[in-house]
């Protein structure tokens, strides 16, 4: 995957199409991806980029479980982008749907419009604000989303990204330094495969072509860039 990534980075941006394949047979539901994402992007309480859905079927003792881990699916026809009244959210040339924190007015239309529940609103919460005498230093550390220093400020709702819609961006800041997204690196079962879907040599493109591959809610025409192997 690292070689695939380096190869993709040598191409011009509009020739890349970042995508992911998640092998549900390899997922054990450990939530390492969720935690890695929270840590990498310094996500406050209630802001969730990645979830692992735990589904149970049948009645005891005949029970089966299934895990669907879900980042943002980076749709190629994203319903969230179409409805943004101020063009604060848009699809990049490499297929990643991003939010410009300085343009977002916080109307939350995109959150309503996402069929996958992949967007969060930043309410301005902190893990330690109001819970401990002082806000812990780790709680106000900046994240490096979009390659910028994103600093949240306790008690200041006027400062972005507080009051904005936020979402998974495939760790663009890592990608552009030649690193895989945090959730991919951390996956204990290597259930997540990442790379350039436009590169037929890449692992991700080959796995996406597998007859086991499906995409969520394909009938909505959103064209997600994330595939699931059943």
């Amino acid at each position: 995957m690292y070689e695939d990534l380096q190869r993709a980075l040598k191409k011009p941006i509009h020739q890349r199409h970042w995508g992911m394949v998640i092998d549900t047979r390899k997922c054990v539901g450990c939530n390492a991806c969720t935690i890695a994402c929270k840590a990498e992007n310094k996500l406050p309480p209630g802001v969730v980029y990645n979830v692992v859905i735990d589904e149970e079927f049948g009645t005891y003792p005949n029970v089966a479980r299934r895990f669907i881990s879900r980042p943002c699916l980076q749709c190629q026809n994203p319903p969230c982008v179409r409805v943004c009244p101020v063009r604060a959210t848009y699809k990049r040339a490499d297929g990643i749907v991003v939010v410009d924190y300085d343009d977002c007015i916080g109307c939350r239309y995109c959150i309503s419009a996402c069929p996958y529940g992949a967007r969060s609103f930043d309410f301005g919460t902190f893990y330690t604000a109001g819970q401990t005498p002082e806000v812990a230093p780790w709680d106000v550390m900046p994240s490096f989303e979009y390659g910028e220093e994103v600093q949240r400020e306790p008690g200041n709702p006027w400062r972005s990204p507080i009051g904005n819609a936020r979402k998974c961006h495939f760790c663009i800041h890592r990608l552009e330094k030649g690193m895989l997204p945090a959730c991919v690196t951390t996956c204990i079962g290597q259930a997540r495969i990442f790379g350039d879907l436009n590169d037929p040599e890449s692992l991700v493109a080959q796995m996406a072509a597998s007859p086991r591959a499906i995409r969520l809610k394909e009938e909505l025409g959103t064209e997600p860039s994330v595939y699931y192997l059943l």
Partner: protein, 410 residues
């Protein structure tokens, strides 16, 4: 000021005072203390926003009966209808403005609009509508301003200012005014249909929420706007205008007949939406309807929406209201309040079904709460504050503006 306008002003002042702490919290803490969450991103404020926008569109379209179609029957309440449209519009815009995560950036929608977003379209349309409505009100009231400007005292001084120096009352000038009003009111009809149908479209185009994703939605918005706007206008004429029941008996009963018809059409559409979704048991369609009818907030549907908003007023209007202005007024008042329930049940059930089955249990964090929503004191506070402001503007208008055509001649 009439006694009733004073009552409205006092009520508005009290609401404003009760709501002030909530508003202050909203402005200083942002959205930290609201009850809505990421899975339920639009809640009470949005419901009240579409409620008031509907009142505005409805009252405006009813005023066009006078100013476009020249219906003499309602001529005396034309100005009142226009002014109610303005007050409701301002209240609605206040709600939606306070609902933004970054209120200070609202003008971005003019600087760099997303041309594919229905939300951007309607903001532009609201702006046009606000300008048009203000201009129409001015042209309609100008003769009264000129007449009123002659006296002494504060009101005359205000009217002198409001004439903007245009004092010409010759038949030619009056004829020109009449034509301008006709043109404005005529442009206003497609505009009102567009902005309120567009408000419905904001919801209807959302493929993620099967409950909203229906071509019937924008049409339902328009019908219920007419019904609720008509109900508010009838209530104001019957109970707030001094001696409304006596002096405006004809108008009230006439509006009541219109209201009964509109309520019936709205009722049919509601039933159609509900039955179709209940019959097919597709979860995304079925869950929102089932939650409305039998969920913890069943009373919002059965008592507030269906009972007070539609069926109750329809029955009152058909039986005692057919000949009695008082009962028509009562029916209109009940419907005006009941429509809050209908609006609530447009917004909130949209989020009743999980986007992906099981996602609600995937995570446990504040502001990430599926299915459960209950407004907090901050939300109530802001709501009271906005309604209080609306009531105060209404009272101010009743006090200062020549809302009754015959006031000009007196």
């Amino acid at each position: 000021m009439g006694k009733r306008a004073l009552v409205i002003a006092i009520a508005g002042g009290i609401l404003l005072a009760i709501g002030l702490p909530g508003l202050i919290n909203r402005l200083t803490q942002g959205m930290l203390n609201v009850g809505w969450s990421t899975p339920i991103p639009w809640a009470m404020w949005l419901a009240f926003y579409i409620y008031f926008i509907g009142l505005s569109a409805g009252a405006f379209l009813i005023s066009s009966l006078v100013y476009v179609f020249g219906m003499k029957r309602f001529e005396r309440i034309g100005r009142l209808a226009l002014f109610i449209a303005l007050v409701s519009l301002l209240t609605a815009l206040l709600f939606v403005w306070l609902d933004l995560g970054h209120m200070e950036r609202f003008f971005f929608v003019f600087l760099h609009p997303g041309i594919t977003s229905p939300l951007a379209w309607i903001v532009w349309l609201y702006t046009l509508y606000l300008i048009l409505l203000t201009a129409e009100i001015w042209f309609v009231m100008r003769p009264s301003f000129v007449h009123g400007a002659e006296g002494r005292g504060g009101k005359a001084r205000l009217y002198r200012l409001l004439t903007f120096g245009v004092r010409d009352l010759s038949p030619r000038a009056m004829e020109r005014d009449r034509k301008v009003v006709w043109v404005l009111a005529t442009i206003g009809i497609p505009l009102a249909i567009a902005f309120h149908g567009g408000t419905g479209a904001v919801f209807a185009v959302t493929i993620a929420r099967a409950y909203w994703y229906s071509g019937l939605f924008p049409i339902m918005f328009l019908v219920s706007a007419l019904a609720s706007g008509g109900a508010l206008l009838t209530t104001v004429v019957a109970f707030i205008v001094p001696n409304g029941l006596g002096e405006y008996q004809e108008e009230v009963i006439g509006l009541g007949r219109l209201l009964a018809l509109l309520l019936f059409v709205d009722f049919l559409m509601e039933i159609a939406e509900i039955l179709v979704s209940l019959y097919g048991t597709v979860p995304a369609h079925f869950i929102p309807i089932y939650e409305q009818l039998f969920g913890p907030n069943w009373w919002i549907f059965w008592i507030l929406g269906m009972g007070m908003g539609l069926v109750g007023p329809m029955l009152i209007l058909t039986f005692p209201g057919r000949k009695s202005a008082f009962w028509t007024g009562v029916a209109a008042l009940i419907a005006t309040i009941g429509f809050i329930g209908i609006r609530w049940n447009i917004v909130l059930p949209g989020f009743a079904a999980e986007e992906l089955p099981g996602i609600g249990r995937a995570f446990m964090e504040p502001h990430w709460v599926y299915r459960f929503y209950s407004p907090t004191w901050v939300e109530w506070g802001v709501t009271f504050f906005c309604i209080g402001i609306g009531a105060l503007i209404l009272a101010l208008g009743l006090w200062l503006l020549p809302l009754r055509a015959e006031e000009a001649r007196a």
